[in-house]
């Protein structure tokens, strides 16, 4: 459904954050977008949502389309209307508003009925949020904030949900809850999901397909199991050697020259 072809993105007309990225998210798919810090993952999501302009970012080349329709020139609200909803990195709640007000903002473009049905669904998914509905969002724990961020996006009724590092800084049980929720949304509602993660092991476990981005380029892509079996990915992203033990940092650095896809 979503297709990016040869996308190049510049900040301030000078910094080339994304050099050449092509990727696809098929209907009903979970697609993992992996890469280390500064690879360009967040920039790609912002380009899809068309919220680069406040940061002076611009898609210079390439195409972004949803089911064949060009998205590049559509304003951000139109992208949301078409069903692409973006959960930003670092959760980005409206910190002074209550949990319920935050969730309701997700339904900004929806009618009254859809909004209250959406709220009910989110409270069913995360009962903890129902207890905390009158709390000021800025004071919630990190895990609760991530639930609000995802819940808020769900109220918007996405066909394609884009999650930017949802596991960042969370305890393992919360990560499990979030990942289970993501899988359930995909299985039960057929929601397509574009999952950006640094935690490759986690993402490849739930994804159907994966892309690895380095320095603004897709360096590897394929079905998730195949990516997870790739020797380089094992070494540099999954942090284990062929024997399955974890590598320490120094060894990883030592092996850096051997990355096959860069040579």
């Amino acid at each position: 459904m979503l297709t990016l072809t040869n996308v190049q993105i510049l900040y301030d007309r000078a910094i080339e954050a994304v050099r050449d990225v092509s990727l696809q998210v098929g209907a009903g798919q979970i697609v993992a977008l992996l890469g280390s810090n500064g690879a360009g993952k967040t920039t790609i999501l912002k380009a899809i949502s068309n919220v680069l302009y406040p940061e002076d970012g611009e898609v210079l080349h390439g195409e972004i389309s949803l089911e064949g329709a060009d998205l590049k020139r559509l304003p951000a609200d139109e992208i949301v209307r078409r069903g692409i909803v973006h959960v930003p990195e670092g959760r980005r709640l409206f910190p002074l508003m209550t949990v319920e007000e935050n969730l309701a903002m997700g339904g900004f473009l929806r009618d009254r009925g859809e909004l209250s049905a959406g709220l009910d669904r989110v409270y069913g998914l995360f009962p903890r949020l129902k207890e905390r509905r009158r709390y000021v969002a800025g004071y919630l724990s990190g895990g609760e904030q991530q639930m609000v961020a995802i819940g808020r996006a769900l109220v918007a009724g996405p066909k394609l949900l884009m999650l930017d590092e949802p596991s960042l800084g969370l305890a393992p049980q919360i990560i499990d809850l979030i990942m289970e929720t993501v899988v359930a949304l995909n299985r039960e509602q057929g929601m397509a999901i574009l999952l950006v993660e640094q935690n490759a092991a986690l993402a490849l476990e739930v994804a159907h397909y994966g892309y690895i981005v380095e320095n603004g380029r897709v360096v590897l892509d394929g079905p998730a199991e195949r990516i997870a079996r790739n020797e380089d990915v094992k070494e540099f992203y999954l942090g284990c050697s062929e024997g399955g033990e974890r590598k320490n940092y120094r060894e990883v650095k030592h092996y850096k020259r051997r990355k096959r896809w860069l040579s």
Binding site: V51, P54, F94, E101, M105
Partner: protein, 290 residues
């Protein structure tokens, strides 16, 4: 006591005017981060347009007010579209300079169109003097206070309970995330200017009805500005309250201490309060978390 109450009442009257203009400052600052130094001039323009409407059409107040609200909203939205929208993405400082330019321009345009003379704003607000216990007010003065209360309540309800009001608060807190929720942030800025023009414009009319419509009315903007700082630049209701405070303190200090204090007393209060609360009385400190 009687004297005190009368000073208090007259302070509340002028304070209501300051408060309304201060709400205008705060609505724009809160949603867009811009200090609109032309707020007093926008108020004056609305007052002049309303004066022309009132004298040409000879409408009763109940019909004039809705008409003025629509006209003021259009004026605010238009000014935003012409002068502020093209500045989108420029540094805030540059945008503030534009508002200063706009202020000077509006003053001249008003004199060009309506001339430099003052004129009475004769709206049939009959009733003459009203006695409330020991306090005596003109109907027009009471109108200013009532207007303030009604507008402040409306602003509160708007930001708290309406969808678009909530979206304006959201935009103020995190613009990019508001975009991700499907909020058209450009329209929010236009709306903020429209609301500010309506609110301060109503103050302009109330003032013109009490005194006259005159080309030095923009000066009220300068008086109201400290009220916004006092109440909190990002707090519309707090700013309104700041206006009342400045008005009351001004009239009390002039009445009890001496002539001329009216002008400076407000600033003295502000300096003292800002030393204790740098965000203003009701301003929000940024939350540390998130």
């Amino acid at each position: 006591m009687e004297l005190f109450l009368n000073f208090l009442a007259s302070g509340l009257v002028i304070g209501s005017i300051y408060g309304l203009i201060a709400i205008g400052f705060a609505v724009i600052f809160k949603t867009t981060g811009v200090l609109n130094f032309a707020q007093g001039e926008v108020m004056m323009l609305v007052a002049y347009v309303s004066w022309s409407l009132a004298t040409e059409l000879d409408l009763p107040l109940v019909l004039l007010i809705p008409l003025v609200v629509v006209a003021a909203a259009a004026i605010g939205a238009l000014l935003e579209r012409i002068f502020i929208r093209p500045m989108l993405g420029e540094p805030v400082f540059a945008i503030i300079m534009v508002t200063i330019g706009l202020a000077v321009t509006l003053r001249s345009v008003i004199v060009l169109i309506w001339g430099a003379d003052a004129a009475a704003f004769d709206v049939p607000l009959k009733g003459g003097l009203i006695e409330i216990g020991p306090v005596v007010l003109f109907t027009e003065q009471l109108f200013a206070i009532v207007l303030f209360l009604v507008v402040a309540l409306a602003i509160f309800l708007f930001f708290r309970f309406t969808r678009i009001g909530t979206a304006m608060r959201a935009t103020a807190q995190d613009e990019t995330t508001a975009l991700l929720m499907g909020v058209d942030v450009k329209r929010i800025s236009m709306l903020a200017w429209a609301i500010a023009a309506v609110v301060s414009g109503l103050a302009g009319i109330a003032f013109a009805m009490m005194i006259s419509r005159a080309p030095d009315m923009w000066f009220l903007g300068l008086r109201a500005f400290p009220a916004t700082i006092l109440g909190g630049l990002d707090a519309p209701l707090g700013s309104g309250l700041g206006g009342l405070l400045i008005g009351v303190i001004g009239d009390l200090s002039e009445g009890y201490i001496g002539q001329g204090l009216k002008e400076i007393s407000g600033f003295v209060v502000i300096i003292v309060i800002l030393m204790v609360r740098p965000y203003g009385l009701f301003g929000q400190r940024e939350l540390e978390r998130v």
